[in-house]
Symmetry: C2
Subunit: 432 residues, 2 copies
């Protein structure tokens, strides 16, 4: 854990080092992935069966075994505790409500020259959702990825999830069902991404692929990009907590550890204006680590990437936060809404002392798929906008064309695009 003090001369160098800290090393898997994609394109379902036997630790009986049937889903989800299903439903309902509010209106733009201009939003036809099968098989991620697509109006939502030994996580299936996933396949890795992008005899191709995955999945998404859309490749998760000394140090400590327990590359940063409070939080982190089931992971993250930054005044904290552009930001300050107005870059903000980031991971309503690694400077969390696209349109009458056409002709000629100019000029009334 790094301690930085804005009052010291070495602060700027230390903060710059924090900003540049590489938290991930990406394995080079491009050649292996290219080979898998080529195999799926060439041999379709047969390649999927081969790859599943080779990489996923089980041998499907045939192509039919790759698709998870409605009966299997019903059987798998029957044993889930009702309280847990109720929690899942509360989460889904709140996520749906928030994302429904994002849905944009079509535009018709008034035009002084008498044309009619507009912009129309339409949903994608089909989306693929990658769900990791290992330790990161999170039902909450299924809700967060599938519900915005469903709210946007996407017709087909095809989920792929690797099934080590053929078995699936029942709560993941329940989440898929609640979120309106239309098809589930027990396939994973680069082969699943290839099947979604190119299609096979048994899996129809989709238009966009979203969802987290390992290095093979990330590289496969990169390689099929263009053929289909993809979401951004998420890096390790991070939180910045701004907290003054009126907070309970233990609350802040557990909030930091909630981030740190994701994996060893996660990052948790506290910024405070009180040295004593900083010490108290540091001590509370150590105390909490001792009893935390994922304490080894969280401790490693905290030692490697954690930081406590002491500032002289809050404007300094806001400026540092804008440089960090964090994925998650907790504003545990007396006037958190006013503080948020000073922040230009953050994926998601959590205001006040009753709003731990974990609330947003599950039930608050906004999406938990967020821009990491300072990309909140230019990127946003997942939303209905990711599952809609825009068509702009123009309707011109002869009079409208006559009003603005000559300018188009002049510019086309200046650019040396004479057929462009001629396509307008031919339709203009004779000069007179």
């Amino acid at each position: 854990m790094m301690r930085l003090d804005a009052r010291t001369a070495e602060f700027e160098a230390g903060f710059a080092a924090l900003l540049d800290q590489a938290r991930e090393t990406t394995a080079r898997v491009d050649a292996a992935v290219a080979e898998i994609i080529a195999a799926v394109r060439a041999r379709g379902d047969a390649a999927l069966l081969d790859c599943t036997a080779r990489f996923d630790g089980w041998t499907p009986a045939g192509v039919g075994a790759l698709k998870v049937s409605a009966e299997e889903i019903a059987a798998a989800t029957a044993g889930i505790a009702p309280g847990l299903l109720k929690a899942l439903d509360l989460a889904a309902s709140r996520i749906e409500r928030f994302h429904a509010a994002q849905k944009p209106e079509d535009l018709v733009v008034p035009d002084p020259a008498g044309l009619t201009l507009g912009m129309r939003w339409t949903a994608l036809d089909a989306v693929g959702l990658y769900v990791p099968g290992g330790k990161a098989a999170y039902p909450s991620s299924v809700l967060m990825n599938a519900l915005p697509a469903r709210v946007a109006g996407v017709g087909r939502i095809a989920m792929v999830v690797p099934a080590p030994g053929g078995a699936l996580n029942p709560l993941v299936l329940a989440a898929a069902q609640r979120a309106g996933v239309t098809e589930v396949y027990r396939i994973g890795g680069a082969q699943a991404v290839a099947a979604l992008a190119w299609g096979t005899a048994s899996i129809a191709p989709v238009d966009r692929i979203v969802g987290p995955g390992n290095a093979y999945v990330a590289e496969a998404k990169r390689q099929v990009f263009g053929r289909v859309g993809i979401d951004s490749i998420a890096g390790p998760s991070e939180v910045v907590v701004l907290a003054d000394a009126t907070n309970d140090p233990r609350h802040v400590a557990v909030d930091l550890l909630a981030q740190a327990e994701h994996d060893e590359s996660a990052q948790a940063i506290l910024i405070t204006d009180d040295a004593g409070f900083a010490d108290a939080v540091a001590a509370a982190v150590d105390a909490e680590l001792a009893s935390l089931p994922r304490g080894a992971i969280a401790g490693e993250s905290w030692r490697r990437h954690g930081a406590i930054i002491l500032v002289r005044a809050w404007p300094e904290a806001f400026a540092l936060t804008n440089r960090l552009a964090p994925e998650h930001l907790q504003l545990m300050l007396p006037e958190p809404a006013a503080a948020l107005r000073e922040i230009r870059h953050a994926g998601a903000a959590f205001l006040g002392r009753w709003c731990p980031e974990a609330l947003g991971d599950y039930v608050a309503g906004p999406n938990h798929v967020l821009p990491t690694g300072r990309t909140a400077r230019f990127a946003s969390g997942l939303s209905v906008f990711d599952f809609l696209k825009r068509t702009t349109w123009v309707e011109a009458s002869a009079a409208g064309l006559a009003a603005i056409g000559p300018a188009a002709v002049a510019l086309a000629e200046a650019e040396g695009l004479h057929a462009h100019g001629r396509s307008v000029a031919l339709r203009l009334p004779p000069a007179g």
Copy 2:
């Protein structure tokens, strides 16, 4: 040019071949580009000077020569014909008005559990705009790329443009000035992209890079993606024209050629329900080609990638159009607005017989940077949304947390993320 007739047995195979037609071969330049980016990161401005001398055909006197001064812009634009400046201004004003209408509102979402939820839009701090220096140095592209950023509220818009021999296109500089570009550098290639992404002593880094370029520029954007945002890598341009026999065949022919004159990889497709009209357009294309200044390019595009498709009825044409998902779509039909409702995928639509696509390239108002190569299935044209990002936020009171917190705890425990659960549970009132 391919003639297809939907009444024939071989139609589906022919149409599938049209859909799969590869219209571009991408040179492998990744190693060369990686080397250039590494040089700019390591040596900054000195590497920019070296690369400019090596690749751009002129030797800058020093770092100061890379930046285009306000005096240089004033001198270069002084000689532009007033009529042309007026056309540029009309285009800019109309593009501004249309993009201003796109600006979304912040959300505050009512919540039944008593929390406050919202979503806020903020502009990017800084954007880089790549402008090609060769045959494709189009002032209209400067307007289309820079104005949405300006309308979004981006503070810094840094333009880079290679200057063979050090000279720049005056109308490109006038467009930059009109569009609110804040800095212009006469650099290009992968080195310019690297400088925008990583910054040098004389060029501050940006958050997103947009604008078209050659294979080196496209690969450089790919390689800096993640460090900064990028726009999509545009492929060759295309148009689909739906026209019935009441149209003037010559109008349709010139519209097809306006697309074809862009480059040999461009594609122009006519879909009609009248065989005689199809013949008339084909003949008119040949006649117009003879007198077109860029006839060699347009002819090559038409022969290689052009197509005329004959359908039995318009619903068939709409279905084929959805499979093509064209960048540009002209609907030269009696009820174009009704036809547009049948189209799910198109970058931009032009309605009626008085609305050639070239109007949209220059002055209509919507953006001319559009998704190519069937990517309109999932992608959209450039807009203010490309220069804004969203921050979602949640504010919870103790009562709000108590209402939904237990569900978060249940889901966190089910996912094995105990610090997540604990960060919520610690703040809940004692169970009683």
